[in-house]
Symmetry: C2
Subunit: 389 residues, 2 copies
């Protein structure tokens, strides 16, 4: 068990009637606000008007940057960061999901950086200063609203990379489960797959953390498994939307993996390659890759953990042989959880071929850092990708 | 499910090799430090010397207030607060357990208050300003290191009361499980009973919160049930001490009950009366009262929750009838958990009679606030107290 520093100061306003606190929170940081959002769905739902009203009522100066795309691009980050410099912005108000918040985080850091904005993601420079980010969340998925990471796609190099820094953690997050009622069935499914993956990536770790955080992860996984199908089938079910929303934040804000060191992940890097080349939805990519990864790494060494996963999370009878429990757990994930959410089960159906697999596998395996749960050579990654076709 | 604001900014340094951060953290708040502690056990263990060295190495000015007793007294709070005024202290460094930290919180608030210091606990005045408190924890029990509450005993009136305020939450907490190796078997047992009680008080609530926080509570309860006997029998077991320490903070920092409103407790108020009159150890009092309270409130209305408690926490076969599961759960708590920790099972053995039961029951039932899980009349409290003899 490693020493750790716990420091998650994001303030969260959770629930139906909280947006009236927005003005007072923004004011703590100054009076020039850059509102960032995506393709405009917040205008259709009416959230845009509500947010703008709060900002105006607080007598703040409002600027806007819109059009942030899913898998947000470096060029958007650059435009936003340039705008922050030009307008001398005090605080960024990100209204949207993970893409909007991720992009906003690097606009916030870019505000104080004069080099190539990709330098953050290529780890050429540290994040030493950043504007505060306040967010209004509209989808339960990436957990960006309470974590330190932003994933950006460099469209020139087909690279999709995450970068983390304490300064990037949003200062305040507004989470109203009702704002996720309009999330489509497909995006609800993909978001839920993403949340579950975040927990599984930490749960399957070579590093022994605390039993206590293990129990928290089990609880979070059970929460996603219970409520994702309910939200999928009954989009305005407040209880389901609330549980998914709060679980999305806690899946990745650091609480569950803080005692496990850097704990490098396995499925996310493979999926990042897929969506960098094909722009597929992140959660869908994870739903396709994860069961293949599990089958690939299941061995005598990992059997105990997979059996625990089966017993604790999927409530499989602990009297069965461990190998059977492990296989049944993967079967539950693949053939019940993902299937019930109608997530496509292979890459072929998405029009993806093995054309770029070599370069993807090269990139994933060309990795220096602490060991993954199970080390992956280039051939291992190729095997997982080919099994995903 | 209620709206809530989540805001737990306490920064935690957890582990074996963290105390070297103490100087830098104290410095954030100023240079005049009041070190508070109890009866001097920290001198025997060597922790006092380590702490003083860090403070001195950081060139801070060190003052001391020692002798804070278990069930800390208002007179100690008053002396400490007066000292903070006189010496113009910038930050309080509380080294100890719940008693030291609780007292330090109200010294911190008292620093800025010129009336009777009991006014905070009699709710005559709000806590509007307080010095920052940095703590070095030496026992896993009350969770005071990360929560907003301090319980103080007014020795003149035999009243023991808690008061909460956001400003009282410690700014920084240092938690080294090794510092709890020297905690006696008896105090380890009482501390564990206290932690478990904090979770159960929230778990048994008339208010439906989120399933997700329910799963977190189940995990925390399982953690205490698993590791309390290990720490009891093997005091230098790091894994056990670490799990109990981290669970103690999360049992009560607000995370598990944030979505349940004020959620007033049941067993703590009864125990507070007992220890106000007899100065018994808080956790021991809880271990005696809790099973009696459970038997008293078990009814058709509460059966479902007690059955969940039995199935999820005590892993009792869900095929059994609910009433059997509920009774078996109480039996597990009383005759396995508390007994394995060798906690006295009745008040008579502690020399307590029914002498003050009338006044205790009067005080507990004379309560205005949101409804308890099950309302308790004076007669209910008397029944529970008499059953505890």
């Amino acid at each position: 068990m490693r020493d750790f520093i716990y420091n998650i100061p994001t303030k969260v306003y959770f629930g139906k009637d909280q947006l009236h606190h927005l003005g007072e929170e923004l004011k703590r940081f100054g009076n020039k606000v850059l509102l960032t959002y995506g393709g405009g769905s917040i205008k259709k739902t009416g959230l845009y008007d509500k947010v703008v009203k709060e900002v105006r009522d607080a007598n703040l100066i409002l600027h806007e940057y819109s059009g942030i795309e899913p898998n947000p691009k470096l060029s958007s980050v650059a435009e936003g960061a340039d705008l922050c410099k030009k307008l001398d912005i005090d605080v960024i108000l990100a209204v949207g999901g993970g893409s909007v918040i991720d992009a906003s985080k690097f606009m916030a850091a870019g505000r104080y950086y004069d080099g190539d904005y990709w330098d953050f993601h290529s780890k050429k420079v540290p994040v030493e200063k950043a504007l505060p980010v306040v967010c209004v969340l509209t989808i339960a998925a990436t957990g960006s609203e309470m974590d330190t990471t932003g994933v950006i796609t460099n469209e020139a190099t087909h690279e999709k990379k995450g970068r983390s820094a304490e300064l990037l953690r949003p200062a305040v997050a507004f989470m109203d489960p009702q704002n996720t009622y309009s999330v489509s069935k497909y995006q609800t499914a993909c978001g839920s797959a993403d949340i579950l993956s975040h927990i599984m990536e930490s749960y399957f770790s070579h590093e022994k953390g605390m039993y206590m955080t293990d129990t928290a992860m089990v609880g979070l996984m059970k929460t996603v498994i219970k409520y994702a199908p309910i939200a999928y089938n009954d989009p305005e079910n407040y209880e389901a939307r609330a549980n998914l929303m709060w679980a999305s934040s806690w899946a990745i804000n650091g609480f569950t993996r803080i005692d496990k060191g850097t704990n490098p992940w396995s499925c996310h890097p493979i999926e990042h390659e897929l969506s960098a080349f094909y722009d597929i939805t992140h959660g869908l990519g994870l739903a396709i890759v994860t069961p293949r990864w599990m089958k690939h790494v299941l061995s005598d060494e990992t059997l105990d953990r997979f059996a625990e996963f089966g017993i604790e999370v999927w409530e499989i009878d602990y009297n069965l042989p461990k190998t059977e429990i492990a296989r049944e757990a993967i079967h539950c994930l693949e053939d019940f959880f993902y299937k019930d959410l109608h997530l496509t089960s292979n890459l072929t159906d998405l029009g993806i071929t093995d054309k770029y697999f070599e370069i993807m596998a090269e990139r994933v395996s060309n990795y220096s850092g602490e060991p993954r749960y199970v080390e992956m050579s280039k051939q291992d990654v190729l095997d997982i990708l080919n099994a995903s076709l």
